[in-house]
Amino acid sequence: MDMTRMKAGAKARGQLRAAVVGHVDHGKSTVVGRLLHETGSLPQGKVEAVAEMCRRRGMPFEWAFVTDALQAERDQGITIDSSHIPFRSALRDYVLIDAPGHREFIKNMISGSSDCDAALVVIDAGEGVRDQSRRHGFLLHLLGIRQIAVAVTKMDMIGYDADRFATVEREFREALGELGVTPGAVIPVSGRDGDNIAAPSGKMSWYDGPTVVGALDGFEVAAPATALPLRMPVQDVYRFDERRIVAGRIESGSLRVGDTVLFSPSNHAAVVKTIENWPRSAPVEGAEAGDSVGFTLEEQIFVERGEIVSHAGNAPVETNVFRARVFWMGAEPLRVGKRYTLRHNTAEAIAEVESIERVIDAARMDRTGTEEVACDCVADVVMRAQIVLALDPAAENPRTGRIVLADGFDIVGGGLIDMAGYPDQRQVMTRRSTNITEVEHRVSREERTRRIGHTGGVLWFTGLSGAGKSTLAIELERQLFARGYNAYVLDGDNLRHGLNANLGFSPEDRAENIRRVGEVAALLSEIGTLVISAFISPYRDDRLRARKAVGTGFHEVFINAGLEECERRDTKGLYARARAGEIANFTGISAPYEPPENCELVVDTANQPVEESVNALIRYVERHFPLVKPRR
C-alpha cells in the first residue's frame, strides 16, 4: 500500500454496524428515527415530510416513518424489511440496521444483522421480554454478535417507573443469560420523546448509565481475522491475458509472495509467484484478511473455485460429515434424508441431513421432537456431503466455520460447523509415497482357493460396544475352523497391542486404526483367509474405505443390539464410566455411531441367544464361501 492511499483513507472515520432488533411493535423504528433526529443525521425537510405523511393518514407523528419507507410499512404500521441507514456520533460513523420484529420477517432480520459488529435489543417496558426478544437474542449469538445493548423503551407509558424497568432488565438477563448473551448496558428510554437516546433524561434521574448513543460509542468495530491461520476460498481462476490468476478474498491470516500454499481438498501445493494488482503500481509483497486478491503460481497446477488456500502446516479439516448448529428459515421444515445444496464459502455440494440431534425453539427455549426442524427453529444436525469439503470448526475460524443451505433457488438456512466427535479425513486420504510399483504375483487366486478350500473374504462386524461383536467372532471362528475353514479373527484390543499401539481414541486416531485394520484384512483375505473383524468402526466412511481396500469378498455385518440394551449389559463397565464423563469420545454416548445403510447382513443380538446368531452367521458363510475339495 503506498503512502498517498494511506493518507487519503485515514481521513475517513471508522464505521460501526449495529442492528436494532426485538419483538414486533416494541418501538425499534421509533428509537432509530428519533436517534437520527437527535444526532442531527436527518436531511433538511425530513421531519416536515414525515409530519405530512402522518397528517395525510390522520395519525399522530410517527418517528418510525423515517425508516419505514415502503407504503405497505407505513400503511400497516409495521417494518417489513431491514433498512440500512447511516448516522454519525461525535466519535465515529455508524450504519444502523432497523430490523423487522414480526415473526414472519425473521429472514429479513437475519439478512440485516448477519454482518453487524453490535446490536441494540429494544424491549417495550410495558410488555417486557417476548418471543422475538428471545429469538432475536439467540440469533444474534449464533451470528457471532457479542456486543449487545438493551433499550427498554416506551418508559413514558409506564410513568418512568424504576421498579418496572428493573423487572424487565432481570427478565432479559435471565432469559438470555443461559445462552451466553450478556448485555453491556440496559438503558431505560422513550423513543418517542427522545429520553436517554442521545442525551441523558431529566425524567429518570434514578438511572446513571449511558445513553443509547453512549452505549454504541462504547462498542468496537470488529477487525478482520489477521491473526488466524490463512484461509482464502478460491472464487475464480482468470485467464484474461497471459497471466493465470487465482482470485479470492482472504478470510483470515495473511499471504506473502514466495509462500508455499496448499489447496484443499485437492491437496495440491504450489509457490505464490506474484500478487497481482491494477492499476499496476509498485509490486505487492503481501496481503491479509479482508483483502480481495489475485495471485499467480510458480507451477501450473489445477485449481478451481471452491478450494481453500492455506499454508501447509495449518490446513483446514477435510471431511464430508460434520455436525452443524443450523437456524432454519425454510417454508418447508428441514427433514432427515432430504438433500440440500450446501454452500461453504465458494464451495458447493449436495448434502443430506443424516440426523437431527436436537431442536431448540429459541422463543420458548424448549426442545421439540427430532423428526424435523420447523421454520425459525435452531437445531443440531449431522450433515453428510457427497464430496469431501475443506472446512474449520466455527469455534476455530468463524469465517470458514459456517455454511448456508439452499433448496432449489432459495436459501433456507445457515449453520455453524462443530467437528466434535468427527475425524479429520485428511490423514487417511493422503497417500504420502508416490514412487511405488506393485509386484505381480505368479500364484493365482484360483490356485490359492484350491489349496485352502474356499475363497478369502472379510466379514466386517460393526456395532456398538457390548453388542456382541467379539463374542460372536470368537465363537464363529471356532466353529468355522471345525468345519474346515481357514477363519481368523481380527479384534480391536488385540491389534491395539501391536500394529496400532501408537493410536489413541481421538476421532482421527480411530479413523487411522480402522484404515490399518482394513488394509490388514485385505491382505489376509487375498492370502485366502476368511477374516472376521470385530471393531466398533462407527464411521460409515471408514467402513467404505475398508470395503474399497478389500474389494469383492467384503461383507458388512451389523451386530445390532441397540444402545439401551448395550448399556444395560455394560459387560466392561465402560458405559457407566462414559456417562460419568470419565471416558471421552465414547461411541454412542459422547461420540457418534453411524449405523450401516446397505450392509450385507444384520444380526439382531438383542432378541436371540448367541447360538442362534452364530448359526445364522454360519449359514451365511456356507452360502457365500462354499467349500471346495482341497488339493495339496
Binding site: 494511506m6 424489511d81 450504519v95 454482518d115 472464487q235 473455485r305
Partner: protein
C-alpha cells in the same frame, strides 16, 4: 491494516467476482455519473484491468452534452464494450405517475427493452443504500421477477456473503456492488484513485450538480465546491439530501417506490 476505503473496495470486488462467476449473461449499467464510474473502476480492479461484460448506457436522449462526450471518450480509452439503447417517448408511460416520475419511467422501459433484446440475466447497477428509503432496504443480489418487477415485500434472505444468483427462466437479478458505500465514500475514493468524472459535479457560478439525471428533471445545488477537497468538505457538514435536485423524488410520497417496483434502478 485495511482502511475504510480498502474494506469497501474489497467487498465490492468480491461481489463483482461472484456476479461474474455465477451469472451467464451479465452487463453493467453505466449512467456516466460518479457512482457508475467508481463501479467501472472497481470492475477493472476486480478483473485486473479488464471489464469482462458489456457496459450498458440506457440513453434517454436528454442527458447533458458533457455526459455524451465523457461516454465516448472513456469507452474508447478504457477499451470497454459499450451497448446503448433508446427509450420510448414519455407519452407511452403510465399516465398515473406524476410528471417527473413519468419522465424517469422512460429509462425503465428502455432498460426492459435492452434486457429482452440481449437476454441479460444479471444487471449490475450502482445504487447505494444511503440514497433513498427503498434503496436502504435493497439486497446485494436482488431478484426481479417476470416483467422485471421488484417484490420488495418478499425479498430472499441474504447473509454471510452467500447470494441468490440463480433465477428462474424469464427473471433476472440486479447486482449492487456499491450498495454499502455512502456518498462521501464515493468522493474520497474518486480522490484516492484519481477516477475521471464529468465536470458538472464541480461548482461554476455558485452552482454544481450533486446527482446527475436527465437535464429537464435535475437541478443543480447552491455550492462553491470546485475541487474534490471542497466537495468532501461540503459533504462533511451538509444536511441537504443528495437527491434533493431530483424532481421525481419529491412529487408524491409513493412515486419513487412505484418506479422502483416496476424496474427502475
Amino acid at each position: 491494516m485495511q482502511t475504510r476505503l480498502d474494506a469497501l473496495e474489497s467487498r465490492s470486488i468480491y461481489i463483482l467476482r461472484e456476479a461474474f462467476n455465477q451469472i451467464d449473461r451479465l452487463c453493467m449499467l453505466w449512467s456516466l455519473g460518479k457512482d457508475s464510474n467508481v463501479m467501472v473502476w472497481l470492475a477493472r480492479k476486480a478483473f485486473f484491468g479488464h471489464v469482462p461484460f458489456p457496459l450498458v448506457h440506457v440513453d434517454t436522449g436528454k442527458k447533458f452534452p458533457e455526459m455524451y462526450a465523457f461516454r465516448d471518450r472513456y469507452a474508447e480509452e478504457w477499451g470497454v464494450e459499450l451497448v446503448t439503447g433508446d427509450c420510448p417517448p414519455v407519452e407511452e408511460m403510465d399516465a398515473d405517475l406524476p410528471p417527473a416520475a413519468r419522465s424517469a419511467a422512460r429509462k425503465t422501459a428502455g432498460l426492459n427493452a435492452l434486457i429482452a433484446a440481449h437476454g441479460f440475466t444479471g444487471i449490475i447497477a450502482g445504487i447505494r443504500r444511503d440514497e433513498e428509503g427503498t434503496r436502504a432496504k435493497e439486497r446485494v443480489f436482488s431478484p426481479r421477477g417476470a416483467g422485471n418487477v421488484w417484490d420488495v415485500r418478499n425479498q430472499p434472505p441474504e447473509f454471510w456473503d452467500q447470494f441468490r444468483a440463480r433465477v428462474p427462466e424469464g427473471a433476472h437479478v440486479r447486482v449492487h456492488p456499491i450498495l454499502h458505500w455512502s456518498e462521501i465514500d464515493i468522493w474520497r475514493y474518486i480522490q484516492r484513485e484519481n477516477i475521471p468524472i464529468v465536470d458538472l459535479y464541480f461548482a461554476r457560478d455558485g452552482k454544481r450538480y450533486r446527482s446527475l439525471g436527465d437535464q429537464d428533471i435535475t437541478s443543480p445545488i447552491d455550492s462553491t465546491a470546485s475541487t474534490l477537497d471542497e466537495i468532501i468538505a461540503e459533504l462533511e457538514v451538509t444536511t441537504v439530501s443528495e437527491r434533493s435536485g431530483r424532481a421525481m423524488d419529491h412529487e408524491r410520497e409513493d412515486a419513487f417506490e412505484r418506479l422502483r417496483a416496476a424496474g427502475y434502478m
